[in-house]
């Protein structure tokens, strides 16, 4: 790579890394000089200090653990059936004809709007929260897997047909790996959406979790705690996203 391109790449990398710090710095100065109201926008350094008591005294990690556990369970419950049904719809015209209108009718419903119904059905507790996540993840997994199967290049099937590859082998060695990019997109979107849904659900229907903590902080006017929760959600989101990207690179290495 020529030196000028290297320098340019480095320049953009520095801009990329420093932009959050720059905004935090502006925020700090603005809050400390009174340009913005420090009651609603406390300086980032004070928010950072608030992490320690929250984790040590208020056992915030239990809330994080609760939310993470619900996301994991919800993703598992929603992703697997979604991927299976998406695959069936991608492969069978009959299944597509049967399920497409059902998906089209139910997909646009905001998933959090189903929570009251789930609370009635399953009662207060973990399961209703998990189910909200599962329903949200299910649709994303289904739609992306279905799209992934639909986008398998025709030539892959024609090669298999010409070389007389068995149907079982076509499924195992062509359809499954070829639809993996779509399946993974569904998983990544599902995990991100699951994080949004669980926080929303915990605000109304849980007694632990990050969403619950945000709601409690709002009720007790602990603004710094709200910011700590938001920063935590953001960090979890980044870790999950980077982790899934790495996993995808490893599994779908040919992409």
């Amino acid at each position: 790579m020529p030196t000028s391109t290297k320098m340019e790449n480095l320049r953009y990398r520095i801009i990329y890394i420093s932009s959050p710090f720059f905004v935090l710095f502006l925020w700090e100065i603005s809050a400390r000089t009174g340009i913005i109201d420090a009651r609603f926008f406390p300086p980032p350094t004070q928010i950072l200090k608030q992490f320690i008591p929250l984790f040590v005294e208020d056992k915030f990690y239990i809330d994080i653990g609760s939310s993470m556990w619900r996301i994991a369970a919800g993703v598992a419950l929603g992703f697997i059936p979604g991927a299976i049904l998406g695959m069936i719809m991608g492969l069978s015209r009959t299944a597509r004809a049967f399920f497409s209108p059902l998906v089209a009718l139910t997909y646009p419903i905001p998933k959090i709007a189903i929570l009251p119904l789930l609370l009635i059905i399953f009662g207060l507790g973990n399961f209703a929260n998990i189910m909200v996540v599962a329903i949200g993840v299910f649709f994303l997994s289904l739609i992306n897997t279905y799209a992934g199967v639909g986008q398998i290049p025709k030539i892959h099937f024609e090669v298999a047909r010409v070389f007389r590859i068995s149907r079982m082998e076509v499924f195992k060695s062509i359809i499954l790996p070829a639809s993996l990019p779509g399946v993974f997109t569904g998983l990544k979107l599902g995990v991100g959406y699951g994080l949004i849904l669980i926080v929303a659900a915990e605000m109304v229907a849980a007694n632990a979790g990050i969403g619950f903590r945000i709601w409690m902080s709002w009720e007790t006017y602990l603004i710094k705690d709200i910011y700590v929760c938001l920063a935590t959600i953001s960090t979890i989101g980044i870790i999950l996203s980077v982790g899934l990207d790495k996993l995808e690179e490893k599994i779908i290495h040919w992409k």
Binding site: K154, I155, H156, E158, V159, R161, V162, F163, R164, I165, S166, E169, S173, I174, P177, A178, L180, I252, H253, W254, K255
Partner: protein, 285 residues
Amino acid sequence: MPDSSDIILRIDGLDKRFGEGPDAVQAFEDLNLEVRRGEFVCLVGPSGCGKTTLLRTLAGLDAPSTGTLSIDYEDKEKTTPLAMVFQQHGLYPWMNVENNLRFVLKAAAIENGRHDEIITRFLDAVGLAKFRRFYPNQLSGGMKQRVSLIRAFCVYPQLLLMDEPFVFLDYQNRMVLHQLLLELWTESRQTIIFVTHNINEAVTLGDRVMVMTAGPGRFKREVVCDFPRPRNVVELRKNAEFGKTVVSITEDLKEEIEKAQALESEGRMKSGDNDRISRMRGLEV
């Protein structure tokens, strides 16, 4: 007159039409052809004359509308009847070079114990031994097409169909692959039906070149290319007869291209016919 047992492929009054009514597209009509075992036949013709459709029909990927098509395979259970090299390499991106070959070998009637030896031999033959564990996205266009070529050869098919396999390659790569194909074929002597736009390519490779008319395609002329074998792609170009053959086919094709343009301007054949065929083929599939 060849002995009838020498004939592997016989097509008689073969027709292929896509769709019905005024929107129907006639890909080719009334095709008659006999191909001997071990013969290398090239099909050339203007765009949209149905060359690829004919090849796909032979491969069983498209069904003929009328006419008969018979392929006389010897001992179908113990040998691989047919293989095809496509315009696009069609390698499976999640399988490395070795596994792409192994995948078709497993489905072919070749004992498992011989797979490694066959893979090694063919990879050596095309100079890709070092790339055995590489994935298609790590190979150049020419290398991918070489793998695609040996994928078809390694199952030792009785009939090998090749649909413009070198169309996306540059001139230099194409020359290299012509030589390679000739060497592979000299060794195996399978029957090959090779579709191409490139007249030089057809005359270089084939025993016989079938020139097709503008759409709907019919066989216009048969040109025998009895240049001595084994052939060398560079030496062959120095042969005066080679040049004359290329010029004579070019004149035929020029006439057909002019006819196709005239038909197009009269509105009897639309330039989008190939696209329409693809769409209709999708519907049929």
